[in-house]
Amino acid sequence: MAKILLEMKNITKTFPGVKALDNVNLKVEEGEIHALVGENGAGKSTLMNVLSGIYPYGTYEGDIIYNGEVCKFNTIKDSEGKGIVIIHQELALVPEMSIGENMYLGNERGRKAAIDWNTTYAEADKYLKMVGLSESSKVLVKEIGTGKQQLVEIAKALAKKAKLLILDEPTSSLNEEDSRALLDLMLGFKKQGMTMIIITHKLNEVSYVADKITVVRDGSTIETIDNANHDIDEDRIIKGMVGRELTNRFPKREGVKIGDINLEVEHWTVRHPLYPERTVVNDVSINVRKGEVVGIYGLMGAGRTELAMSIFGQSYGILAGGTLKIDGKEVKLKKSPTDAIKHKIAYVTEDRKGNGLILSQSIKVNTSLANLDSLASHMVIDKDKEYQVAEEYRDKLKTKTPTVEQLVGNLSGGNQQKVLLAKWMFAEPDILILDEPTRGIDVGAKYEIYCIINDLAAAGKSVIMISSELPEVLAMSDRIYIMNASRMVGEMKASEATQENIMATILKSGRGD
């Protein structure tokens, strides 16, 4: 049996009023990849913060035994000194600085005040090679893509002489190709003897890369599953995460009558707002019928969001051509989201924190925002009515919150997504464009969002669902459009679609260019 590198024993961490971790035990062997899975808010990040010293020794109970000795970390520096390095989900790179500068930020090479730039860049280049990046370390971070930035983070960790590397959702913002490359890189490191902990929501990645899987639920470790043969069933993991067998991850939609074509977009072409010579949506035609859920599948950067936002009152880019028909009549939307809302179109953004919700405001204020005028007469808001509406949608969508006066910033990702949906449902649209409606939320909340989508379709709404999760698109859609490199490259009925023929469509279209 291999040596235990890290053991976290009976860790308990309480915040005022909440027990975030309750007697958690975690054992990591030297040279393995250990996956930590669990729903949002289960306590994974808290556990890693305890380990890295963000919550200093004394603020939690229990012991951390690393390399045979009991550790009492007070700051991140202490844990990094021992070789425990954590890479957070949100990248912590300064875009305007070079790769080398970023890698040695706070860990500068040289003596006293003076930085030795020659050593810095030489060493940086060495570590960049190890992660398979051919870029010079003098290139600015803003000039490389997200996938490469993630690799820079890893190189940065290596430069700190990491022995135990913790990756918190490393692939959440990467496309499939980059994700795969990153996972393979992890496997490569494992061969060289590195120990790693990976936190992720993507269960296919877990079964591909992890040797052992520890499931965390409600602040406790539920079980550690062995995955030495990399053949674990995803349903097996989910069972541990949600505490019950999810026999069906996607609720069935039955008996919904699909009606006439509601929205029809033809030859839609959009140019980039800053670089008009770049075409981001190229001659795309789609339509959606009443009561129908249409999926748009494509990799990140395929032009899906750009298409959706452009349809939504040209809120992105420059419209270079195309027609839009609602109920068979051509409509020329003004360049404003307000006009789109008036024509009963809603766009539910993929970036709920960035441009979806107002985190500093209450659930109530966010819910009423897109249709505030309906609650007001002569510009005076009827606050009673507003409160009732917020309550109504809280019940309808089962948003978990003590009161609708709660600030949205304090909610979990799944509940925030529900508030975002509530806002647009209250705007009473006929056509809803949902952009990655289940991104970054846990399995249980996903199921509830799917139920909401089904209810919307049953109520005769037209739903366009953009997603980069194939199983979701396959299970939820009546019809699937496939987008790649700014073009619509395929359309198929859900009943005829499989993962294989969708991927094949994308690959074939790529070769054509």
Partner: protein, 389 residues
């Protein structure tokens, strides 16, 4: 969810600080701070802050944006007003309208530059800060040897902005003034009772009966105290009416209306607001047009109080308005802040100013104290919020 005593204290820290500071100065000045004369003085001295800060608050809500030009604009508009009223002997009403028109035209230009050309507000208003001071001084020096134009003779103008309602002599109890105070106090209490009854009837979260009564008694007591003091000081200053109208108007806008809500959401997350159908550019435009109009009202009030236009008029007004907002809990990043808080902030600064003057503290040290208070208030606010998280 019942509010605990501690929570009530926390929600009203600035108010408590205000009371303590006031009591401190009353003690140090041997009661002079509490005299009818100084009550009156506190109001007339600080009227411009309340009015100007109402507009500044709307700007700050949109994302911590400020207006640096308003102080200089007061100087410029004052010079124009005084020139037409005192030298050209124009009818004051026409002069007032003229000043308003100039303010509106300027506000439209400024709003357009900020909202539609995307010039950062502090740069766009920095230009006005420099230019209006120059223009104002130029008008004054080319029309007067002393560089100052007096409006002492324009009595109707002074009456509107710096007069007294129900004027009596100092020291005699002014009955109508007291009656107005009693009527307002009764109205406030009645509103409290009706509001609570409505909430209870509909099953919403409401204060307990005792809390509501306690609050009503306190509010009524403060109103009656002010009314009594003003009654002893010769009547209600007209400027208080102006301040009251402005403050109540903006309180209504920010708390009750859709456009007020839009100011908050634009400051909270501009892109989310835009994608929810809020016309964010129009909100920015309105914020700065509104600021210009508020500045015009401020000019009237200041010209009335000083009874002359001079080249130093309005100096540092923009900073006073920003300070009042910040001390009153308006977020420097936008999206949060209430008129009530601003009023407390402005009063607190006014009390400190007046108290220090009464104590004959050196003017230079007064500035130091004001700076420290500003910093302390913001630090306190941030720290207390952090702990409650």
């Amino acid at each position: 969810m019942k509010k605990t005593g501690l929570q009530i204290l926390k929600d009203n820290t600035m108010l408590i600080v205000l009371v303590l500071v006031y009591l401190f100065f009353t003690w140090r000045t041997g009661g002079a701070m509490f005299s009818p004369f100084n009550f009156n003085e506190l109001i007339t001295q600080n009227a411009y802050v309340f009015i100007l800060a109402s507009g500044m608050l709307m700007c700050m809500l949109t994302g911590g944006n400020i207006d640096l030009a308003c102080g200089s604009l007061v100087c410029f508009l004052g010079a124009i007003g005084a020139y037409f009223m005192a030298i050209q002997e124009m009818n004051p009403v026409i002069a007032i309208i003229l000043m308003l028109l100039i303010g509106i035209v300027y506000g439209c230009v400024l709003g357009y530059l900020i909202a539609y050309i995307n010039i950062p507000p502090w740069i766009a208003t920095l230009a006005g800060y420099l230019a209006f001071r120059g223009l104002g001084t130029n008008i004054l020096s080319s029309n007067s040897k002393t560089g100052s134009i007096s409006v002492k003779k324009v009595e109707s103008f002074l009456g509107i902005f710096a007069g007294k309602l129900f004027k009596t002599k100092m020291g005699i109890l002014n009955v109508p003034c007291l009656v107005v105070g009693i009527v307002i106090a009764v109205l406030v209490v009645a509103l409290n009772v009706i509001n609570r009854a409505n909430k209870v009837k509909k099953g919403y979260e409401a204060d307990t009966m005792a809390m509501m009564l306690g609050k009503s008694v306190l509010e009524a007591a403060v109103i009656l105290l002010v009314a009594y003091k003003l009654a002893m000081a010769g009547g209600i200053p007209t400027v208080l009416v102006w301040v009251g109208l402005v403050v109540l108007f903006y309180n209504f806008i920010t708390e009750k209306t859709t456009i007020g809500r839009h100011f908050y959401v634009v400051g909270g997350n501009r892109e989310a607001a835009r994608l929810s159908g809020v016309n964010t550019r129009r909100i920015m435009f309105v914020a700065y047009l509104n600021m210009a109009i508020v500045t015009v009202i401020t000019t009237w009030v200041v010209l009335g109080r000083v009874q002359a236009a001079n080249s130093t008029a309005g100096t540092n007004f923009e900073m006073d308005a920003i300070s009042a907002c910040v001390v009153g809990g308006v977020s420097a990043y936008g999206g949060a802040g209430r008129i009530f808080g601003m009023v407390i902030g402005a009063t607190l600064i006014g009390v400190i100013n007046l108290g220090m003057s009464l104590m004959n503290i050196d003017a230079n040290y007064q500035k130091v104290v004001k700076g420290v208070v500003l910093l302390g208030a913001v630090a306190f606010d941030i720290l207390s919020k952090r702990r409650s998280k």
